[in-house]
């Protein structure tokens, strides 16, 4: 397998029915991402960048066109198979963290392991190790509302890492953070990329996009030429 062919979108469109009209979120996207790349998907609100992330992350499937992840065609997989791929190969980080509000930091990090069928003792050990890694070893028993924004995003990153995925997808990960916490989080992503992961940041902020190796601009559902 050619490294260039790690994540391949070919003529991908996505149409959302919205009442009587259809919203054309993606209009024929062609994109290749190499394994181990650090990529930013840059575009204004409504440009379709989140939709690309959802498709790359197997949360959503294209209306037409194909997506191959590591040689496997994603279109045509059923929701249970897509979930399996998300669980084992992909970690998500969201702008608003998306932590379970009534679960502790540690329990949140354990969540992917629950669905992978890991037993409780191993889950605990693995979650604690990753939390140490993101610098939250002292906050494991805290609920999300007892943590700062930066700490919450670290918990979310720990959760995305716990299953050892090779791909990290982050949607505006610094959007809800002050500049100092944002910088720390970006540094964390740089480190995770340096460790060999494919990291894809979705953002509207050019200065953040510049921190990556490659910027893919998207506007009105189409990739803009570099």
């Amino acid at each position: 397998m050619d490294d260039n062919q790690f994540m391949v979108l070919r003529d991908v469109t996505k149409v959302y029915p919205m009442g009587d009209t259809d919203v054309q979120a993606l209009r024929g996207v062609n994109l290749q991402i190499r394994a181990g790349e650090f990529v930013a998907i840059l575009g204004p609100s409504g440009s379709g960048k989140s939709t690309i992330m959802h498709i790359l992350g197997c949360l959503d499937t294209p209306t037409s066109g194909t997506y191959h992840l590591d040689g496997v065609g994603i279109q045509g997989l059923d929701p249970n198979e897509l979930a399996e791929i998300r669980n084992s190969r992909i970690g998500f980080v969201f702008q608003s963290f998306h932590l379970l509000p009534r679960a502790t930091a540690c329990e949140n990090v354990e969540l992917p392991l629950v669905f992978a069928g890991v037993n409780a003792a191993d889950r605990r050990t693995m979650a604690e190790r990753v939390l140490e890694q993101v610098g939250l070893g002292h906050r494991m028993r805290h609920l999300p509302n007892e943590l700062s924004g930066g700490e919450r995003q670290r918990v979310a990153i720990a959760r995305s890492l716990v299953n050892g995925p090779s791909i990290l997808l982050a949607d505006e990960p610094t959007g809800n953070l002050d500049s100092r916490s944002g910088a720390e989080i970006l540094a964390l992503f740089e480190q995770l990329h340096a460790e060999g992961r494919t990291v894809i940041l979705v953002t509207h902020d050019e200065s953040i996009a510049q921190r990556t190796q490659r910027v893919i601009s998207i506007f009105d559902g189409k990739i803009q030429p570099d």
């Binding site: 959802h54 992350g57 249970n80 979930a83 084992s88 998500f92 009534r102």
Partner: protein
């Protein structure tokens, strides 16, 4: 995070809503359990009452011929005598407890100035076992010696004893029947009796058939009672008895007007049908209550799913398979119904225990019987609960599993 700990978390959050739902399931379980148990015990009491008259008992009485036979015209009276009973005893081994019966003219029975008018029966010793006429402590029923010596002894129905003697002891006392002294040899132990052709045994006075014959001077008995040894071949036994008596009295064994047959097995069959119908009815009422409670569970599960759409989306984003989500909510619904069901069964057990503490002195209450939580009831109720749990959990769980993670995560 197991689904049980998740459920406990939800329980803490929606305490009142869940408590009400649980109450619904408990109430439904108690309804179906108690009603089923009552249906069962009333059925049992009815059968017991029927058996109070005699278990599988057959009574043949004479009648008037309705067709000519062997040169005799129709319209002849055929009556049986005590020797016919002996004949059955000798010739039909498939029939047991054969007993001739004279009854039941009203006669005055007196003790110390108290006089009552009572139906008097002349019976043979087998009557005791045939009709469950067991004596209370210290007494006995009519025996063979009484028969041979035509003794003037009387066995009193418990109502009669009550009326004549009140609290005083009757055994050994002398009562006057038709102004002749009779020694009381026993008093009927109270029993549940549903039906009778003369009077209930508790309101009759029994004397030996031989004494009755010589005292009253009747030649024909009112009926001959017996019980087929094997209920399965009862019809055949009855035919044998009919053929035997027909040959003896010169009449057609198939002339139904001669054979006034009274067969308690037929009544038992009817009672069984009635009892079954009643139990089904009770069960359905209870089941309906439980189904309403099940709708409540489904409702609250829908609310839980609704409230946790975003969390379901998060779980799916980190790799929860739709079928794992489905299973989680199914289990939650199941756990909720199960919890209510277990509490309901415990409460039912307590309610039934309370019902059993009600004194059953009155005739009507006696037919409540002694309701118990039988294994059959517990098993049917549990199956119904399980079915309702599955149904109540399934639809909300299916909705949870069909949450679109992109949709669920898009909005704050």
């Amino acid at each position: 995070m197991s689904s049980v700990s998740h459920l406990i978390r939800q329980l803490k959050q929606d305490r009142i809503r869940i408590a009400l739902t649980l109450f619904g399931i408990v109430w439904g379980t108690v309804s179906i359990t108690v009603l089923s148990a009552l249906g069962e015990s009333v059925h049992r009491a009815l059968l017991k009452g029927q058996k109070g008259q005699g278990d599988g008992l057959v009574r043949v009485a004479g009648g008037v011929t309705s067709r000519p036979y062997a040169g005799y015209p129709r319209g002849r009276w055929i009556g049986f005598i005590r020797r016919d009973g002996q004949l059955i005893r000798d010739k039909v081994p498939e029939a047991e407890l054969v007993c001739a019966e004279f009854g039941a003219p009203f006669r005055e029975v007196a003790w110390r100035g108290r006089v009552i008018n009572v139906q008097m029966l002349g019976v043979e010793p087998a009557y005791r076992d045939l009709r469950s006429c067991f004596p209370q402590e210290g007494g006995r029923f009519i025996n063979d010696l009484d028969m041979r010596q035509r003794r003037r002894v009387a066995f009193l129905g418990n109502d009669i004893k009550e009326k004549l003697f009140g609290e005083a002891s009757a055994v050994g006392q002398t009562v006057r029947i038709m102004n002749l002294p009779f020694t009381v040899i026993g008093v009927l132990r109270p029993k549940l009796q549903l039906s009778s052709y003369f009077t209930l045994d508790k309101s009759a006075v029994f004397i030996p058939a031989s004494t009755f014959e010589s005292l009253i001077g009747w030649r024909h008995v009112s009926g001959i009672l017996y019980r087929p040894k094997d209920p399965a071949t009862g019809q055949k036994t009855n035919a044998t008895v009919r053929t035997l008596l027909a040959a003896r009295h010169g009449c057609d064994p198939n002339d139904s007007r001669v054979w006034n047959v009274y067969n308690t097995q037929e009544l038992v069959d009817i009672l069984n049908d009635v009892g079954f119908g009643m139990r089904v009815f009770m069960f359905l009422i209870g089941a309906l209550t439980l189904i309403v409670a099940g709708v409540g569970v489904a409702n609250i599960m829908f609310v839980l799913v609704q409230d946790s759409t975003r969390q379901i989306g998060i779980k799916m984003a980190v790799g929860a398979k739709p079928r794992q989500i489905l299973r989680q909510y199914l289990l939650e619904g199941f756990a909720l119904v199960l919890l209510g069901g277990v509490i309901g069964l415990l409460v039912s057990w307590a309610v039934l225990w309370l019902i059993r503490q009600i004194p059953m002195d009155q005739e009507g209450l006696a037919y409540l019987g002694r309701p118990e939580l039988s294994p059959v009831t517990a098993l049917t109720v549990s199956s119904v609960l399980a079915l309702i749990a599955l149904a109540a959990g399934f639809f909300p769980a299916r909705r949870a599993a069909s949450v679109d993670p992109v949709e669920a995560l898009r909005y704050e």
